[in-house]
Amino acid sequence: MTDTHDMRREMPLGLAQRGYTGVIQHLAAKEAGSALSDIELESRLIELGFVEGARVEVLHEGLVGRDPIAVRVDNITIAVRRREAMAIIVA
């Protein structure tokens, strides 16, 4: 981990506001409380490109509960619900 990232507090992407940019630190599927099993959720997130080191930016939010969010992951845009995004720890 580089110095600049140590300076920023780690937080789940599920709590990020619109406009947030950061880098994925690790995945914590257990904490997310998703309907999927930990393994399944983690696999799906990786399959969509949410791996350690990927840059993310929260581009858009929905109306109800600011959910779901549209996240830029490197150069694609993925819509996820905040519940599942809780498994993505960013800084």
Partner: protein, 623 residues
Amino acid sequence: MELPLLHLALVGTPNSGKTSLFNALTGSRQKVANYPGVTVERKEGFFVTPLGRQVSIVDLPGTYSLRGRSPDEEITRDFVLGKASGEIVPDLVLCVADSTNLRLTIRLLLELKRTGRPLVLVLNMFDIANRRGISVDVDRLAKELGVPVVTSIAVRKGGTADLLKLTDEISAKLAAEPQPNNWRALSVSELRATQREADRIISDCVSLPARPDTLTARIDAIVLHPVGGLIVLALILFVMFQAVFAWAQPLMELLQSGFDALGEFVHATLPAGLLQSFLQNGVISGVGSVIVFLPQIIIIFLFILLLEDFGYMARAAFLMDRIMGGAGLHGRAFIPLLSSFACAIPGIMATRVIDNKRDRLTTILIAPLMTCSARIPVYTLIISAFIPATDVLGFINLQGLVMFGLYAAGITSALAVSFLIKFFMLRDYAPAPFMLELPDYKVPRLKSIAIGIFTRAKMFLQRAGTTIFSMMVLIWFLASFPQPPAGSTEPAIDFSLAAIIGKAIEPLLAPVGFNWQIAVALIPGMAAREVAVAALGTVYAIEGGKEAAEQIGQVLATKWSLATALSMLAWYIFAPQCASTLAVIRRETGSWGWMAATFTYMLVLAYAASLLTYNAAVALGAG
């Protein structure tokens, strides 16, 4: 020596252009659109390479991995692994990538390598990559991956030339010895390691965009705005339903007067008798009354195709996810439900992209409540006969407004049914995650829109020529025979089988205000909804006798009360009047039980809604 057929398979992440490639290579017209999850079936096609090798190519649903999480992804997995019994494993797998977005495809390719199948990486959409300033070191990529790499532009003429050439080269030296298949589902750590490996290869071989897609970002700023986006969505739907009514009118009138003239011509040239009656009342008044609605069908398809090609559908799903969640529906259900406005059958098929079984079942059960294009003739006929074409607030056409109201009623009842299903049957249900790639916008391609509309129009006319025509022959026969005894003074149709059948059912339908003519029309209307319009056309034309040149709408306006008309509209919001939809529900749920359940619940709702509407209307003096 004749070489054996070469078997190719198209595999790749969703929306990477597999079907576009398939169409380009084989000259087919499979559905292409700009959102993930368009293809949900396996489709085989054939072509011949420049060197004359016969090739069979299979288009498959897009997938991010071979794990097969949803019914469509299972199709891809089973085909690639040769699991489907009696299947041939592909000789060569074409792994198709969107060149602007290689990360996920290269990870998929690394996973595919374990299957032991010979592979080619096809860097598709290379035109877009070039425009954005993405440069790919193709030779190095091929060396690092250990598979041949070729670029392609599926939607441009000659854009597949390199791929064809490579296919010839590879097929000449394909090893006879099949490689062992070492594939098994990747564990999380293997998956992660594979993605890391893919990212490393990409950083070595690809230099990333100097110019990101700012257009998509600018459009999304409006279209995905939490409030503004919903307003835009509502506006789009409103304009769509208004247009179906308002824009089509002149063309429909033209078609109508054409059929009228044809009817009069037949009436004038043929001697009075059975042949004249058959052509004029059965064919022209019956089938013709359905064909008149072609312009409306084209307009609704035009809207849906434009939205699909532009890339809006995935956005709409994003906007609606939580709102539909309140009614127990998954965000991914939005696209199947919106396509059900065209026809419930592709809509129900499209639910294959929903991985959660319950979400998928709920969506299938309510898809037929979306106002499909076959209801348009019924609605339009009744609306134009009974609702004045005045303007509301100066610019909204009242007839269009009623049409919009009927669509809204369909949507609302679908949400209500879904809510009840969730409430009563699936109480322990935890919401399945919603994860969807939002593709970059693309300018809709004129050619593919034109092909889409042409295909749909052809299907509609074919149906008019087959199902509707044969139903019409039946109705005409029932309404014409037996002929009245000589010297009888009552209308001839009162002696016919149709009248006998209709009057037998009438008591059942009298409480909802339907007369015997409607009762007769509803039976062949089981085959397809529009048939009811044609059947009414024929029955009233025969009943009207000589002066039958009148249009069916004008006849209805004199024969039905407003209450009956409104009751009929209410009936059609719900009625399960489509045999093909029921058959697809059976196939997709694999159960006669769910089919019967759909039929029953829709019939009950139809009857209840009509009963309510009719009695309310009568009470208000519209009887």
